[in-house]
Symmetry: C2
Subunit: 418 residues, 2 copies
């Protein structure tokens, strides 16, 4: 069978299952996710075995240690996947909730009710736990999902998806609601992107070039996840101990992810006091600083920042630092260089906080908190499908609510149009 036909068969099966799943009661979907968790635990041994095959191939292919680590399944990690699924099962059901409701002068009652989107196409990188998270969020929200995981984890992901799909049936939910595309070439992705009749939303997760490739050719609506050039602005009124802690946490707690800090902006009024203090803590954490001239005057160990550093997503222990003349210059810098993912201010000045949250346009704007907190789990939304930097449909961490659409339910007693 050709790749396109194969993907189409899966998409058709998903479409059929979606129609059934959309009408299953909350109880059945929650029980299905509980069965998925149980099934993963029961199959731990088999999962670790196929995972070893993925790992051997990846090692032979010369992937770096950090990559191999993300790919590795252990008993603890499988247990973690199961626990994640149980957390999703425990979330409130978004399906059937009423987003708003009002009454018209003629007595017509209008409600906007959440319903599942339908079929989600999820294209992601290699971490096997993502497979379970995504399947759990989709089933929870009454959607079927077509999973297409990275080639390096193909054996682990194929087995995880098969185990999860089988578990659905035990709870009386359609197994076809979880589809996995084993073909790892791009043709399979290209086929998915053309199926606007069968797939309602595509969520690509991966590098910048890949996400752009998907966005440019998709006829299915895409929820994008762009680069994160993330800023923290330390205002003149900031509690400096708090600011230091936030900067170090945002930069160094896990530098390889999109919500990690990339550029620190410091108000000139406090730079002389703040920069040496935070500089010492950053050095301790192994962070290389690339500074503007005013930064380097205060942190002589910093290397000079080039113009392109302000647009760099390092995803590494490197931090660009710039001294700015107050809030206006900070906002202007962020407007020019930010990518709209997450931006933070550290301040004790209420007017500055209000201006920053209003004037900075990003999926998440933070006051006195680490940008690393911009995450579905940290926001209390359960796992996440990703963090959307799209403006339409959903922006920020994508949880179960973002996987729904709404329908208007209109009730009357014979109302007509004049």
């Amino acid at each position: 069978m050709k790749v396109t036909e194969l993907v189409q068969a899966k998409a058709r099966a998903a479409r059929g299952a979606a129609a059934v799943l959309a009408l299953t009661p909350t109880r059945v979907r929650n029980e299905a996710i509980a069965q998925m968790a149980r099934a993963l635990e029961e199959k731990t041994e088999g999962l670790l075995e196929v995972n070893r095959a993925d790992l051997e191939r990846a090692r032979a292919a010369g992937h770096p240690r950090a990559f191999l680590d993300r790919l590795t399944l252990t008993e603890t990690r499988v247990a973690g996947m199961a626990a994640g699924l149980r957390e999703v099962a425990a979330l409130p059901d978004p399906v059937g909730t009423v987003a708003e409701t009002w009454c018209r002068p003629n007595g017509l009652e209008i409600s906007r009710v959440r319903v599942p989107l339908g079929v989600i196409g999820f294209i992601y990188e290699s971490r096997p736990n993502v497979t379970a998270d995504a399947a759990g969020l989709c089933v929870k929200s009454g959607n079927a999902v077509i999973l297409r995981g990275g080639s390096e984890a193909i054996e682990s992901n194929t087995m995880i998806a098969a185990v999860l799909a089988k578990a659905l049936q035990k709870a009386g939910a359609p197994a076809d609601a979880i589809q996995f595309v084993e073909t790892t070439d791009r043709e399979a992705v290209a086929a998915m992107l053309g199926m606007s009749e069968l797939i309602d939303l595509v969520i690509p997760r991966g590098g910048e070039a890949f996400v752009r490739w998907v966005s440019e050719r998709s006829r299915v609506p895409v929820l994008k996840h762009d680069r994160g050039v993330v800023h923290v602005f330390v205002d003149a009124s900031a509690n400096q101990a708090m600011a230091s802690a936030i900067v170090v946490n945002a930069k160094a707690q896990r530098p390889s992810v999109c919500n990690a800090l990339e550029t620190l902006l410091v108000d000139a009024a406090v730079a002389r006091e703040f920069l040496p203090a935070v500089g010492a803590r950053l050095a301790e954490a192994g962070v290389e600083v690339r500074g503007c001239p005013r930064t380097r005057a205060l942190l002589p160990a910093a290397t000079p920042a080039a113009e392109r550093d302000w647009d760099e997503e390092y995803l590494d222990l490197v931090l660009a630092v710039r001294v700015v003349d107050g809030l206006d210059e900070a906002i202007a810098h962020i407007r020019r260089h930010g990518t709209g993912l997450a931006e933070a201010i550290v301040t004790n000045d209420l007017a500055a906080a209000r201006r920053f949250t209003r004037e900075v346009d990003a999926a998440a704007v933070l006051v006195n908190a680490s940008t690393r907190l911009v995450d579905g789990n940290q926001f209390g939304m359960g796992a996440e499908m990703g963090i959307s930097t799209s403006r339409v449909h959903a922006r920020g961490p994508v949880g179960v609510q973002a996987l729904t659409t709404t329908k208007f339910v209109v009730t009357g007693d014979g109302q007509l149009r004049d």
Copy 2:
């Protein structure tokens, strides 16, 4: 200047204006819309004059009378446009409203706040009043708009847009927030569809083929407005007088629009009583009935319905009628032939109403009300940009709220990620 460059210049101007408009207070945007209304009234004479030029061209081109009527501006219609704008100004401001808010165990406060989408590309047919409606809704929601109206109304629309843009300035809002593309060839539309960096959402209004053409080539997200094969199901328990009134209103009040009824489904249990009664009223209203065999047994004047009649969007005084064996068959028919715009049941049976609203998947599902009420104005949302049959972003009548996105505003006192 080439068409693409021309459109790009307008899109850039709109992008700049959008950034300014997004931060203007509610008061300024409302005042701007009031100025727009006043300016239209003041320029009535000039508008009627350029409209006469459009009308002469349309008459010479042999357009039918209904088309010419839609194209015509009169003093009353210009006053109606101004009144429509004042209604939009009086709506609550969606910008800055909090969609939801919650607090995390670590004290982090999370709000989802509505902000403007940015730049809207609106591509529409010929009625000049649509220009004012769309501009009003976009300004109200803090968005810039690039208008591209149908060629037949080009002179009227060009002047309306110019008058509206100039009025913005009087209120201290950026005139560039209303852009009008005078080039009527498709190249201008194609150019808009490629500008994903400058335009955030495209809303096409027009025939089925045109909307498909837009959807297939757009790299900007599209809010679609598909065909409306709209059903009314008359359940066995229906109040038959109410059912007749709803059927006649839904079909004949204005048959040329998407929310008009196309197929009537009648429960066999009441067909013998109901069909002759409604048939007489439909005949009075000049409606041609195309019926299934069971319908024709009761309405001998009906012509036989062919299989393709169940998928027909007549947009005319023609109605397909089918007798079905109860709710299940009605829902199955709608699932197979419905286009997801508006579907109605007339019933006095609560269980039937609940099943219908839950199981029928459409932008709007109605109980005991005419499908003609599925409309932004009738819903109390002010004017509308159209009725979306897309599943992502917004579904159903598109008012000011659908022209916003949200951002997460996160406030803490030093929270970090562990």
